[in-house]
Symmetry: C2
Subunit: 214 residues, 2 copies
């Protein structure tokens, strides 16, 4: 079985933005409420951050419950891990997920600045430099035969797409226009030279875009 690099449940606006402008500590998605991007996922039974029972078990749930399925490691950009830039002055910051990060695997945080690894519950965070191929190689080893999730944000997904390292990509296009922000694409058609695409409308209003390598 191939070890895939998978983007999952990545939400963008109908005009292609994965976050608004002006990202900050208080507003990791900038001037856009995360609710506008993730309401469809939070409504499902399989939402990894769900704390109560309930939730829908229709189409959208197949995507959220696939989040951890056969995933052995995650790669994320530094901005997803936290708001700091430059050297790691604040070692107290352990990410925005509280004591129980939803990953349960090794996580590789892309950064040009060294920081020791640390473990929180059953998630270990490593801070790694190097190019995308090099980081993917590390993550694949840590995943012990399982797939690797590319967790975002937008710049990180674009970086790995440009390096042609992504195998499958699930983008949920939500029925909202942001007008500006961090752009994933002008149009999903940009990827059609390298990927198959199925577009699946959900009753929730989201249009699931499923790409896999040709």
């Amino acid at each position: 079985m191939t070890q895939l690099l998978r983007v999952q449940n990545f939400s963008v606006s109908s005009d292609g933005f994965g976050a608004g402008e002006g990202q900050s500590f208080e507003r990791p998605f900038g001037d856009v409420s995360p609710e506008r991007l993730f309401a469809w996922a939070e409504a499902t039974a399989g939402w990894p951050n769900r704390t109560d029972p309930g939730g829908s078990r229709g189409l959208d749930d197949y995507f959220t419950r696939d989040f951890a399925h056969n995933i052995g490691a995650e790669i994320m950009g530094r901005n997803k891990f936290g708001p700091q830039r430059g050297p790691w002055n604040d070692h107290e910051w352990l990410g925005p997920w509280g004591d129980e990060p939803p990953f349960h695997t090794p996580v590789f945080v892309l950064t040009h600045h060294e920081r020791p690894s640390f473990t929180l519950s059953d998630t270990t965070f490593h801070f790694v430099g190097g190019g995308p191929a090099e980081v993917l190689d590390q993550a694949r080893k840590a995943a012990r035969g399982k797939d690797v999730r590319l967790g975002g944000g937008v710049a990180t997904v674009r970086q790995f797409l440009e390096a042609d390292l992504v195998d499958t990509l699930h983008v949920a296009v939500v029925p909202e226009r942001f007008g500006s922000g961090l752009r994933l694409w002008e149009s999903p058609d940009e990827l059609l030279d390298r990927f198959h695409l199925e577009v699946v409308p959900s009753p929730s209003g989201v249009r699931h875009h499923l790409f896999w390598r040709k």
Copy 2:
């Protein structure tokens, strides 16, 4: 987390039949070629019986790769296990799956006739009598907190639906009319009193019907 009883990837014709007439050893689906029911699934990367790499990774693949996800046991009817009827005279018959059954969990085969359990690779088959609730109770214990799959065939799914024990039901309606055979339903609307329903058309021509308990 609730332990669900789940029907997965159960294929029926557009007129509601899950098998043709005249089931026999050589033709477990009767006068209907299984290909007509399962071509959509066999085309996917996640098809549990796939031996080569490749296969599609679009919508249909989300369903086939969910087959084993969080499943700890299966319940199946005797007709799915094999063509014998009445007492188990042929103990050489270990099911139609060869040396590596695709279940990898305990499997509970419904039968009125006693037969000792046996293990093939990492699947153990138990032969159990009793009503649906009683068998489900046994399967839930064996599943150790995970969900239980209801594997079919048609009569078994109907039996558990009538006993109101099914929590989620994924039925793939293929674009073929059989005209006669073993009928799952006259119409999916029969279940709407007890279940939510989403109908999701796939590019393959299959219409996925996703039911979950109200």
